[in-house]
């Protein structure tokens, strides 16, 4: 019987009915301390430290603080130092502050070449879906499950349903993977993928870089999906090749990886088709990622949801929080802050694209803009290419690696009422700082917005 890529990976990892073996467990400081405590209480070891790796990202200041003990915020310092102690005690490799491999957990996995096709990958973070870009089955788990994986290297899982989204056509000029996934969530809604492992398929995917694919899979959780996946191909294999974690017998690995893509005729529980060529640059206007529209459009009128009172009330509340009037053109929205970074959009290609918009221009006087590379290695690469100078001379702040203003667990936050164009993944109330107002966009759109001080349709921008 023809099988989906999801089925192939799931079936190869089933230890017993509903018990899945985990090939790679990524750990960070926020969702792990209680799990390690649980192990200590029961006297349990970590079963496979050699399949586990940790980094510090959520709490990390992006001002170049060189070591955990020097983090100014006491609670953040304790959390990172606790991770360091736990990893030492349980023999888990750790890239903490001061390591040249430190960075956002979903950036460093692929960067080290340990994110590979066909693997099961988990992490106590919902954006673990990012790693599905390599044709892996990757999903976020809670702290109890983190403890379970540490103790058993397995996870109790119900088999999710499968969904395939088939994209046709090429993305237009100025339209990016970020716009594609925002448009998809806008169409399906923030619970449209709940209960599903989602495969992003079709000709459009073949033309996308690994960075682009990671951006798409990253935001699967914003559509409620359990996992997002894209079939591996030569683009995938070239990415993994030569990295520290790449398989020793690479040719044999590639031969096995070529067997992973969904078989012709395999059936999915849900099928969706989207015309990628029709997608425009997107901007969110509300307080969840499904509240999104085209840059050429206007802030919607909640009255348009007349027959769905819950949606109308949600839209009304969102507009009140966002301080936006229905009918306002998106390009009239003025910004206070711009954030380029996060596990969605902080890789080298993201920074190159943002820099290409900036070149020679200046950040608007009313805007404070920052660029936060996703890892120390992305930072080093960008500096080698001179991108930091492009950003700095335009008036952007150039920071060190971490989750930064995506979630405000570190000093990078919005002030009450500030409006931000952000390349991150969540525009929830207060996400970037209490009272902060977040508009999700692509790196190119964010960079252009920093220059103009308002959103701009980059397709006609010169």
């Amino acid at each position: 019987m023809p099988k989906t890529m999801f089925d192939k990976i799931w079936d190869a990892h089933e230890v017993a009915d509903g018990l899945i073996y985990i090939d790679l467990h990524l750990v960070h400081e926020v969702t792990s301390p209680q799990a390690f405590d649980g192990l200590r209480l029961e006297g349990r070891p970590v079963r496979r430290p050699d399949k586990t790796v940790a980094t510090a990202d959520h709490n990390v200041p992006t001002d170049g603080t060189p070591a955990a003990r020097m983090i100014a915020d006491e609670l953040s310092r304790i959390q990172v130092e606790t991770l360091e102690r736990n990893c030492a005690e349980f023999d888990i490799p750790l890239y903490s502050l001061g390591s040249d491999r430190q960075g956002i957990v979903h950036v460093i996995g692929p960067e080290l070449g340990i994110t590979q096709p066909g693997l099961t990958i988990v992490c106590g973070d919902s954006h673990t879906s990012t790693h599905g870009a390599f044709g892996a089955l990757a999903f976020g788990i809670g702290t109890s499950e983190v403890e379970h994986v540490l103790a058993t290297q397995c996870l109790v899982q119900r088999r999710p349903k499968t969904m395939r989204i088939d994209y046709t056509g090429e993305l237009g000029t100025g339209v990016t993977a970020k716009d594609l996934i925002l448009a998809t969530i806008g169409r399906l809604g923030v619970s449209g993928m709940v209960g599903h492992a989602v495969e992003y398929a079709g000709e459009t995917m073949r033309g996308l870089s690994m960075e682009n694919r990671m951006t798409i899979c990253n935001m699967t959780i914003e559509g409620g999906g359990r996992a997002g996946m894209i079939a591996p191909d030569d683009t995938t294999f070239e990415w993994v090749s030569g990295r520290p974690g790449a398989p020793e017998d690479f040719d044999a690995a590639v031969a096995a990886w070529r067997e992973l893509p969904t078989d012709e005729g395999a059936e999915f529980d849900t099928e969706v088709e989207i015309d990628a060529a029709a997608i425009s640059p997107m901007v969110t206007w509300g307080t969840n990622p499904g509240m999104v529209t085209e840059v050429t459009d206007a802030v919607p009128d909640p009255g348009a949801w007349g027959d769905a009172p819950a949606d109308r009330e949600a839209a009304e509340r969102a507009l009140a929080y966002m301080a936006l009037e229905p009918g306002t053109p998106i390009t009239d929205i003025a910004l206070d802050r711009v954030f380029i970074g996060s596990c969605t959009n902080s890789r080298i290609q993201d920074l190159r694209e943002a820099a290409s918009m900036v070149d020679g221009r200046k950040v608007a006087g009313s805007v404070r803009a920052m660029v936060v590379p996703g890892s120390q290695q992305v930072k080093a690469q960008a500096e080698e290419e001179g991108l930091h100078e492009v950003f700095r001379s335009a008036g952007f702040e150039w920071r060190t690696a971490g989750c930064s203003m995506c979630l405000g667990m570190n000093p990078d936050i919005l002030d009450d009422g500030e409006r931000c164009a952000s390349t991150s993944n969540r525009n929830f109330e207060g996400r970037q700082g209490r009272g902060g107002r977040t508009h999700l966009v692509s790196p190119k759109m964010a960079a252009a917005a920093a220059i103009e001080g308002t959103f701009v349709d980059i397709r006609g921008w010169a």
Binding site: A12, V15, A16, G18, L19, Y21, D23, L24, T31, P33, Q34, D37, G38, E42, P49, D50, K51, V53, H58, L75, S76, I78, Q79, P93, L112, G113, I114, Q116, L119, S126, I141, G142, S144, E145, H148, A151, T152, Q153, V156, P160, S191, V194, I221, G224, R226, P244, G245, N288, D311, A314, R317, L407, G408, M409, R426, F428, E429, G430, R431, R434
Partner: protein, 187 residues
């Protein structure tokens, strides 16, 4: 984990769809390294602004897609620590649902109509074994996976159950099932 069999009493209501875990427990409270003490930060911003008030009743009734967004289990710990023993909604986000069951916070999926009627009734009784929710409007059945129900009813430790199967894990590893993927200690 404490066994969960019958939960009864008054209900509190959050009449909103897509309530995300950032609202349930904002990020600034995720820095604690313990599992306890999160109740006072539940719905922190909404409580502080006065746009939401909740009594710590046994049952919380919420809108569809409750618990979306971040995987933070702190959201479940906060709801429990505040006093709720069950959350009833038309649907839940996947990770949040699982996190509930791992902590003995009972997630119950009822139709939109049943949720509204339960909210209007003001109190109810949930029987896990029978898979029924009883309130002034009547009795409705709910679905729960057999395995999850068994663990909840007996308060079983998931890891303990899996480790009973340790022979199977070892056999899987020895048969080559664990050969895929990198050796992180050799990077």
């Amino acid at each position: 984990m404490r066994p969960v069999d019958v939960i009864e009493g008054k209900v509190s209501v959050v009449e909103r769809a897509d309530v995300d875990t950032d609202q349930i427990i904002p990020k600034q409270f995720l820095k604690r390294v313990e599992r306890t003490g999160f109740g006072e930060f539940l719905f922190y911003d909404w409580f502080r602004s006065g746009e939401l008030e909740l009594e710590p009743n046994p049952i919380l009734v919420a809108g569809r897609n409750f618990g979306s967004g971040s995987s933070r289990e702190h959201a479940v710990w906060a709801i429990q620590d505040f006093g709720f023993e069950a959350v009833v909604a038309p649907s839940f986000a996947d990770i949040f649902y699982v996190n509930c069951t791992k902590n003995g916070l009972l997630p119950v999926i009822l139709s939109e109509d049943a949720c509204r009627e339960l909210a209007a009734a003001g109190e109810g009784r949930i029987d896990v074994d029978d898979q029924t929710m009883t309130f002034a409007g009547g009795v409705v059945e709910f679905e729960i996976d057999e395995e999850t129900k068994h663990r909840l009813l007996h308060g079983l430790d998931d890891i303990g159950i899996t480790l009973k199967d340790e022979g199977a894990i070892t056999a899987f590893e020895e048969a080559g099932g664990a050969d895929r993927g990198p050796v992180t200690t050799a990077l």
